[in-house]
Symmetry: C2
Subunit: 279 residues, 2 copies
């Protein structure tokens, strides 16, 4: 799959977790497809929000060709991470210079969103495969009310100009040492004059909650949800987007390693005694 | 849900991604249920391997009471992370001193497994909720062949002694500064004399691959899989389990933050020029 273009040009792979009908996908494809890079997409066949880094090993995947905004690509019967895996290892004729995921309908600021987000997972899967990547997501609410279609489309059009520029930059430079992917979030409307903040993920963006209801037969069911908190610390992604109206660029490192700690040696000694207790 | 025990005793919540029939779950419940702590479980109603940190926001969840090995708990119609969320926020009468996830059928060493694993996701969701947690997983193959039932049950029985001790240690001490969860992996049979290694996650444990086949109607379908590599660096989780036959304890930090980098300032300048280009 080379989108009919020359082999010499770098290829950008676009994915998302909202599926092929997302206006955020369309805006991102249109902004990227300006003749400077080849563009293709591989996205889930339908919405896969909050699918995390799920992968499909227990059943096979299907892929169908599709054209969106003049760009040829595929829809796949799996998760966002499946899409990237299938693209890199089978459907594409060359390794993309970058994977761009999004633009997601709703921001993905804070660790709670980052870990559960399918949009971020597509970028994370790319990083695990050694491809520099970014996840792009946009706030779609104002004071808790979903934005109207026109405001949302204007927001996606504006955000996609930044997303395309960030992706071209990655194709030119790669990502700096110690940075494996970028998590980029946009406010619904970028405050003037536009600022770009380099941020870190906030730890707690929501207070999680579970609501219990009764079905018509008298049996309980449960809704998981989260009430958004405020008062985000300066320098965090949620602060940049919610408080500053800025574009938030969060460089992420996927290594998860914790620095050594004396407390861990105590646990190690305790566990080694389990082995000795058997003798 | 207090399992009928006194309110004074600390409560351990067990989860997994293999569902209620897993022999690894049974072994862990039996080892923990020794009268020193209260124990309960909340697990997915069926296998949810490779479900990552998926969460169910778009439909409600169901929970059913169930007893396994004399321990009362719940099975839930959602993901491992849903189980922990539902437990902490609704089904349990107090905050657990620790969440113990597993013991998974198959090890979860290396970043590729860690990010996709439902077992690790349950522990990660606990960490996001502020509960110290561990994921426990055991190799179940020898030279690429699945172990027999007897060897597997012996392995789970032995591994669960370590898992229970680690969980009791967490309930006594919490986790050290900068450590949010432990990812613990066991070989099928722990080498004698038993050693416990404090490790970091290996980056690349598998070479991922996609196989294309044709269905009887002549349409392609795809299998995602990974061929396990070898030659793991000393100090990594896969090295400990596969090369040393040791118990691997990997302290994980979930913050994902990347240290600042001069290269990022260049991107920031490029993106700020996008805003100015509009004027």
């Amino acid at each position: 799959m080379s989108n009919g273009e020359g082999e010499g040009r770098p290829l950008v792979l676009v994915s998302n977790d909202d599926g092929p009908e997302s206006p955020g996908l369309r805006a991102l494809l249109e902004a990227l497809n300006d003749g400077r890079v080849d563009v293709t997409f591989i996205v889930p066949e339908g919405p896969r929000s909050s699918s995390g880094m799920s992968l499909t090993f227990h059943k096979p995947l299907r892929a169908w060709e599709r054209e969106i905004s003049g760009v040829r690509g595929y829809v796949v019967s799996g998760s966002p991470a499946d899409c990237v895996m299938l693209g890199r290892l089978r459907l594409l004729d060359r390794t993309p210079c970058a994977v761009a995921s999004g633009i997601n309908i709703g921001d993905n600021t804070g660790l709670q969103d980052i870990y559960a987000s399918g949009t971020v997972a597509a970028a994370l899967q790319a990083a695990l495969l050694g491809i520099p990547s970014s996840a792009f997501s946009m706030m779609v609410e104002r004071d808790g009310i979903m934005a109207g279609e026109r405001e949302m489309l204007e927001g996606f059009a504006e955000a996609s100009r930044y997303a395309a520029e960030a992706t071209r930059w990655i194709c030119e430079h790669g990502l700096p040492e110690g940075v494996h992917l970028l998590n980029v979030n946009f406010p619904l409307r970028i405050a003037e004059p536009a600022t770009v903040e380099l941020t870190r993920p906030v730890r707690r963006k929501y207070e999680n909650n579970v609501v219990e209801r009764m079905d018509p037969r008298g049996f309980p069911y449960y809704w998981v949800w989260g009430r958004r908190l405020g008062g985000y610390s300066e320098g965090t992604d949620a602060w940049a987007v919610y408080t500053r109206g800025a574009v938030s660029v969060t460089p992420l490192n996927i290594d998860l390693a914790s620095p050594g700690s004396p407390g861990m040696d105590d646990l190690r000694a305790r566990l080694e005694s389990v082995g000795r207790a058997k003798d």
